[in-house]
Symmetry: C2
Subunit: 329 residues, 2 copies
Amino acid sequence: MMKVALIGLGSVGRGVAGMIQKKDLGITITGIADSKSGAMDPAGLDIASLLANKGRNGSCGDREISASDVIKKADYDALIEVTPTNALSGEPAIGYIKSALLRKKHVVTSNKGPVALAYKELRALAEKNGVALRYEATVAGAIPIMHTLEHGLLGNEILALYGVLNGTCNYILTRMAAEGLTYEQALMEAREMGYAEADPTYDVMGIDAAIKLVILANSVWGDSKQLSDVDRTGIDLLTPDALRLAADLGCTIRLIAEAIPRKHILRVSPRILEKNHPLVVDGTLNALTLETDMAKEITLIGRGAGSIETASAIIGDLLYINDRYVHRA
Amino acid sequence: MMKVALIGLGSVGRGVAGMIQKKDLGITITGIADSKSGAMDPAGLDIASLLANKGRNGSCGDREISASDVIKKADYDALIEVTPTNALSGEPAIGYIKSALLRKKHVVTSNKGPVALAYKELRALAEKNGVALRYEATVAGAIPIMHTLEHGLLGNEILALYGVLNGTCNYILTRMAAEGLTYEQALMEAREMGYAEADPTYDVMGIDAAIKLVILANSVWGDSKQLSDVDRTGIDLLTPDALRLAADLGCTIRLIAEAIPRKHILRVSPRILEKNHPLVVDGTLNALTLETDMAKEITLIGRGAGSIETASAIIGDLLYINDRYVHRA
C-alpha cells in the first residue's frame, strides 16, 4: 500500500481524496491538510469523516497541525501538493515541495507556480534525493501530455508544440463564433457557466496559457524559460467582426500557445485556423499538437479542467510512481 | 547498448533500421533477416552495406541463413518482428515470436496477425518467460495509443473506445465529401496516391479496422475477441448522395471502429458525425477517442501509416523495454 500526504482541499484535493476512497488503487492517505488545519495517521485517515468536518466547520482536522507539520512529520511515500497556484511567488507550494523532496519523498503537484518558477531547482533537488517530481495535472487537465512526451514518443525529437491550453478563452471564442456574441457578452456567459473567474485577467490576457507553455518548454527542451519570455497577446480585443472575417475564409480564431525553438518562438496569441484543423476544439476543451521527427504531428484533445479530470492526472502520476519506485522498493 | 534482431525488411523494417542507424538511441542490430536471407554478428552488423546488398541482389545477407536461424541463434535482447501481416494464420510471425519468447527475448512487433489471433497465448508466454511483448505499431501507426492506455490513463477505467483506424477508407471518404466523387473515383485516386492496394478488399470492407479493434479490445479488457466477433460494414456501398445528405446536416461520414463493452458493441461501420467532432480527421489520418471514468473523453490524432511513422512506434517500444528491463538488468 502506497502512503500519501494530501495538501490542499479545494476542488482538486477533494476530487483526489474522493477517487482514492472510491477506487481500489492501492493508495492510502496518511496525512492531510487544508489552509487552517491538518491530520496525520500512519495507519490511514478516515477521509470521509475529515471531509465532513470540513463541510461542517471549515477545517478538516486539528487547527494545531499545519500543512508544514504534515509534510515534515507524517509517514508517507508521496506528497500530493494541490494548493492554489500563486503565479508570482510560487509560495507556499515551493517550500512545501522542497520540504518533501528533502525528506526523500516523491512529489505530485497540480500547482503551476512551483513548476513554472522553480523547475530547474526542484528537478535537481528531486534527482539528488532519488525521488520523482511529477506534474501532469499542471498542463491541459486530463490530457496525459507529460506521459506522452516521456513514454509515448520516446526516441522522437520534439520539434515544436502548439496548444489550446486555456478552456475559458476557448469557450469565449467558441461562443463568439457560434452566436456572433461580443467579447463582453461571451465573457459574461462564461462567468454564468462557472468557466470564468470574477477577475478574468489571468485567463483572457493569455497569462494562464503562457505559464503552461513555460512548463511545457522547460520540460521538453530543458530550458529555463520564464513567463516574461513569452510573447503574449490576449483575446480581450477580439471583435465579432474578426471572427466573421475568419468564418468567411472557412476558418475560426483560437488562442494558441506555441513553442518552436528553431525559430525562437515562444508565443501565446489569437490565431486564425481552418475549421477542420485538429486544434479547433469547441467549448472548454484543451488540445495540443506535438511536431516530431518520426511520428510527425500527434494531437491530443481532452478536458482541461474539472475536479475529477484533474484528479485523473494526479492519480496517473501517483500510480506511475508506485509502480516505478515504491512497489519495487 | 541494447542488442536487437530485425526480422523483415519491407518498408517498416527499412524505416526502423534507418532510424537506428541515424539516431543515437543506444541500440545495435546484431541479427537481420528478410524472406530470403539473414546475417548475424554479436558485435553489430553493418546495416548500410546489408541494405545496399538488398538493393542490388534482393537479399540482405547469406542465403544459407533463415529468419528462424537468426531468431534462434543470434545474440540479442529484443526481437523486432516486422514481417507482413497474415490475417488468416498469423504465420510465420506467430512461430517467430514464440521462438524468441521461449529464448527469454523481448519482442516488439508491428504485425497485426499474431496479436489479433494469438494474443492470450503470446501474452502468457511472455509473462512466463519474464519478458515484454509490445505492439504499439499494430494500431494507429505513430499514435502512442498503447502507451496512453498503459501509463497516461493509469487508474482510469476505460468505458469505451472509438476510432478511425484505416487511413485508406478515411482518404476515400474525405475525397468523396470534398469533391463529390463516387466511391470508385475516390478509390482510384487513393490507388494513384499509393494509399490503396491493387486489391482494396482488406481496407474498404473494414477488415483492417476490425483487426485493429480486436487488438485494442483484447488489450484493454483482457478479452479473447476474434475478427468474427466484430459486427462489420465496409464503405464500398456508400454513395455521394449519402455524403451530401450528411453535409446538409453539418455532418460527414467516417468509418468508425467502436468497442462499448457495457452495450456489448464491437463494431466497424460508416457513421454520421458532426463535422467538428474530434474523430472527423481528414485524409489518411487516424484518430481514437477513449471514454474513461475520470479523464472522460481523450482523443488522439496522428498518422496511421508510413515507414518512419511506424518506426516511431517500434522505437518507442524498444526504448521502453531498454529502460524498463535491459538497462536495469
